[in-house]
């Protein structure tokens, strides 16, 4: 008996498979591409294949994320705020419990406050402005002619202090980055400046829900160790960064799939 969560985001599709005991037995992440629905079905197929599980053994599937409404194969769907809260609450138990979640996605950023039971008590979301989202990192990497995955390491290689990026707007920051390069500044110091710029914005967002320990940081950009360091510095506290930060929300959907299935079974008897 298996359960799955699928998080169909604007940038990536994340899938998590758990077993009857609630343990993670498979993870698969792929690009969303332009054919959300087709790619989501394919992602699920690959997840099951990689995990050696038949479709028939998958008892309950919950979809979440931006593209969840178009994905009719799921037994149920849930908002990404709730799924993220459930996933972070479960994952956070191993770290002594978490109360604040910072999530940076490909095209949005959120701060969620949860209570001791993992229920959402407050949240704020930005999906209107590219600044402070993963998109800013994409744009900056392109301007700097660097790979997105390398930004985290490059952050720590500078000999000088992080440069300040004065524009909060991604579009204006692009010109600023190009200007800094033209003036002979090092890429490492620029990259660190970009991370601090996102970190400042993220901390402002998190302050709007109220920051309580421990603070959990997830979403693809949480893989970026330079960004993690910058946020920790701005926040003046440690972050809990899970092993697979991209899949917390999909994991939350899988956890809920399992409990909904168990609840339905109990009702059935």
């Amino acid at each position: 008996t298996y359960f799955a969560g699928i998080d169909i985001g604007s940038t990536a599709i994340k899938t998590v498979l758990i077993n009857a005991g609630g343990e993670i037995v498979g993870i698969h992440v792929t690009d969303s591409g332009s054919l959300f629905h087709k790619n989501a079905k394919e992602a699920l197929r690959v997840l099951l294949e990689k995990s050696g599980v038949d479709r028939a053994q998958l008892k309950y599937l919950i979809a979440t994320g931006y593209g969840r409404k178009l994905f009719k194969e799921a037994d149920d769907s849930i908002s990404e705020i709730t799924a993220n809260a459930i996933g972070a609450h479960e994952t956070g138990k191993a770290y002594g419990g978490v109360r604040t979640i910072i999530n940076i996605g490909g095209q949005d950023s959120k701060a969620i406050q949860i209570d001791d039971s993992g229920n959402v008590s407050n949240f704020v979301m930005n999906d209107k402005c590219a600044a402070g989202t993963g998109r800013f990192l994409d744009v900056a990497a392109r301007n700097l002619d660097l790979d997105l995955e390398d930004l985290g390491d490059i952050h720590f290689t500078g000999s000088g202090a992080p440069l300040s990026i004065n524009s909060t707007c991604t579009v204006f920051a692009e010109s600023e980055i190009i200007g800094l390069l033209a003036n002979g500044h090092g890429k490492a110091e620029i990259v660190a400046g970009i991370h601090y710029s996102i970190a400042k914005r993220t901390v402002r967002l998190a302050k709007r829900v109220g920051i309580e320990d421990r603070v959990y940081f997830d979403g693809g950009p949480a893989l970026n160790k330079g960004l993690v360091a910058a946020i920790q510095d701005e926040l003046q506290r440690e972050l809990v960064v899970p092993q697979y930060p991209q899949t917390t929300t999909a994991y939350g959907a899988a956890v809920l799939a399992r409990s909904e299935f168990l609840a339905e079974q109990q009702e059935g008897h």
Copy 2:
């Protein structure tokens, strides 16, 4: 005896020369480039040369705009809000007087309310977000592989209704434009959609200062007839668009240069 105003903006340097009677005798507009100060000096030199006026005949020069502080050659400097108000008030007389100014610059947008004497009674400015500024037009033209100057004409060539651009963020709108193109939508309908998107934002900005007749529209993007039509449609009233919308602010600085010079002369006697 001549007077000049120089408006050193982030995108273009605008200069206007007026004579003792206050009539415009020369206009010169050039790119700001990266060497503001050098280019501003050169722009002034070209203005005088084109107008057949010697430097010694230029009695008073006022600088305005973003780069005014770095330009020490000027006799005085003035904020672009005040200069814009003076220029629009003077120019607007021929149209029966104006009370609201909408200015869209290369990297900012403003709405200014003036009283019957041309004094600023209220203003709002956006220089933090590229949406609603000329920068959005630059980015969109690039995405559409069109020349910026052609957007205004292309606006009117579509056979279908303007497409709606849902993202207010320039960065997210870029992806939307690319998606619309990929789905086979016509460039004209996309261009019109972009103009309406900027128009909606501009009208929201103008409403914050209060809209009173007549409404004057200036700044480089006021040369774009499609954008003018979209703003008029959203505003549900006619706009006063001057013949040289780019130089209203520089003209305001020149008008003030003339009156400051005349005032100083009177004091001197």
